[in-house]
């Protein structure tokens, strides 16, 4: 099944302050779209509008499945890694992964959650409380959650923030692997290197 997200002339303003307007974009399964722009240009808001978490002030976002409008709400197809999304500090890494996958109706055993943690470089810390994690480890856990949920559309907002060189490589591999598995990736970034991952780019 081919997924197509059509961003049709959307704009967003807060009160009288215009954040962005007249944004058009289109992305299909297996592709990566990068969104760039300076701080405060509205990249995070743009991703939240695509996810269906924030309403645009004008225009609309359409989700097409094999060229037909999706009967389900588009939020059900999305996964989001963002600085604004936190994990539960009172749960362990593995408990977080199991909880979030259960919420999305994805079966994930403790062994599978531990395996994803290892892939994301959390290894021996997978059973520790998230409260004891560094910011980089928390970022890796967010990547582990989206990997475990494996949604058809990945929304990545500054996914490399707080990550070391190894973590940045991991993000690159994750994006290419998601594309290979036919997921659409929308990547908001300030890193010039990451901006090259996309087949197309929009600048806000």
């Amino acid at each position: 099944m081919e997924i197509r997200i059509v961003v049709d002339n959307i704009g967003k303003s807060f009160g009288e302050e215009l954040l962005f307007s007249n944004v058009f974009a289109e992305i299909v399964s297996g592709q990566c779209l990068t969104v760039t722009g300076c701080n405060g240009s509205g990249k995070s808001t743009f991703l939240k509008i695509i996810a269906g978490l924030v309403r645009p002030s004008s225009g609309q976002v359409k989700l097409m499945l094999d060229n037909r409008l999706s009967p389900n709400e588009r939020i059900h197809y999305m996964g989001l890694v963002s600085p604004e999304v936190s994990m539960y500090a009172a749960l362990t890494g593995i408990e977080n992964i199991i909880f979030w996958t259960k919420m999305r109706g994805v079966a994930c055993s403790a062994a599978e959650a531990e395996k994803v943690c290892q892939q994301m470089g959390l290894g021996k810390n997978a059973c520790d409380l998230v409260a004891t994690y560094s910011t980089g480890m928390r970022q890796r856990l967010k990547l582990a959650v989206i990997q475990a949920v494996h949604p058809p559309i990945w929304l990545l907002d500054e996914p490399s923030s707080n990550l070391d060189g190894n973590g940045r490589e991991l993000v690159k591999e994750l994006i290419f692997a998601a594309n290979r598995q036919n997921a659409a990736v929308i990547l908001a970034t300030n890193e010039s290197g990451e901006a090259l991952y996309g087949k197309s780019t929009i600048k806000l």
């Binding site: 939020i75 408990e95 979030w100 109706g105």
Partner: protein, 225 residues
């Protein structure tokens, strides 16, 4: 291809166990609730110095303690999600009804657990005798269901507001007032050695059904911001 958020019993259970696990590790709500109950009951006990209170006053005291305990801790279920930054993820990945039922059941369990602590202390500190335990437990359970449901809904309403704790109490009290007055009347009857009328039970059960139905219908709108 789309993994539609599950609102099944397993998702409700997942929310409930997550709440219980987080609470057992942080003791955010239970600590506030228990401390408030102990302080209120011991203060009244010392103030009345062994005097016995009339049943109406004792019943009102019991429900005032339970109400303010609820106000002290039950808003946590949504307020803490907002403050910790986990709310956005929950809105993205979870079904609204699973969140509502999971959090409602957690609040109810907390409130019933608190009642198990408060009632024995209340009978000792305020020197009242409960003659008919079955009607008393029924009234207590019906009152707690109403209180937990209304608290869960209003907590969801105020989670984005500034001064959320004050607004939470101000919003919850008028909605809860009919159930609150019925519970006090029914409890006063029991404490005076009588048994509440069937109509009192029916009113309380009807109120609970109405607020639960309103919660199920309204929560989707609150959840979508």
């Amino acid at each position: 291809m789309a993994r539609v958020p599950s609102s099944s019993s397993s998702a409700v259970w997942a929310v409930l166990t997550k709440e219980a696990l987080c609470e057992s590790r942080t003791r955010y709500a239970v600590g506030a609730l228990v401390m408030f109950a102990l302080t209120a009951l011991s203060s009244v006990s010392m103030a009345i110095a062994g005097m016995s209170l009339p049943p109406e006053l004792a019943a009102a005291l019991l429900w005032v303690v339970l109400f303010f305990c609820a106000m002290a801790g039950l808003a946590r279920v949504f307020v803490q999600e907002q403050e910790a930054g986990t709310l956005l993820g929950l809105r993205l990945y979870a079904a609204s009804q699973a969140v509502f039922w999971g959090k409602l059941l957690f609040n109810l369990i907390i409130l019933l657990g608190l009642s198990c602590l408060v009632v024995p202390l209340f009978t000792v500190f305020v020197a009242v005798e409960v003659g008919a335990w079955l009607p008393f437990i029924t009234v207590l359970t019906l009152g707690c269901v109403g209180m937990a449901t209304v608290s869960t809904l209003t907590a969801a309403m105020v989670m984005y507001a500034q001064g959320k704790h004050a607004i939470f109490t101000v919003l919850t009290f008028p909605i809860l007032l009919p159930q609150f007055l019925s519970a006090i009347n029914a409890t006063a009857k029991i404490l005076s050695g009588d048994i509440p009328d069937l109509s009192q039970y029916l009113f309380m059960a009807g109120y609970d059904s109405a607020v639960v139905a309103a919660g199920v219908l309204l929560f989707d709108y609150l959840w979508q911001e």
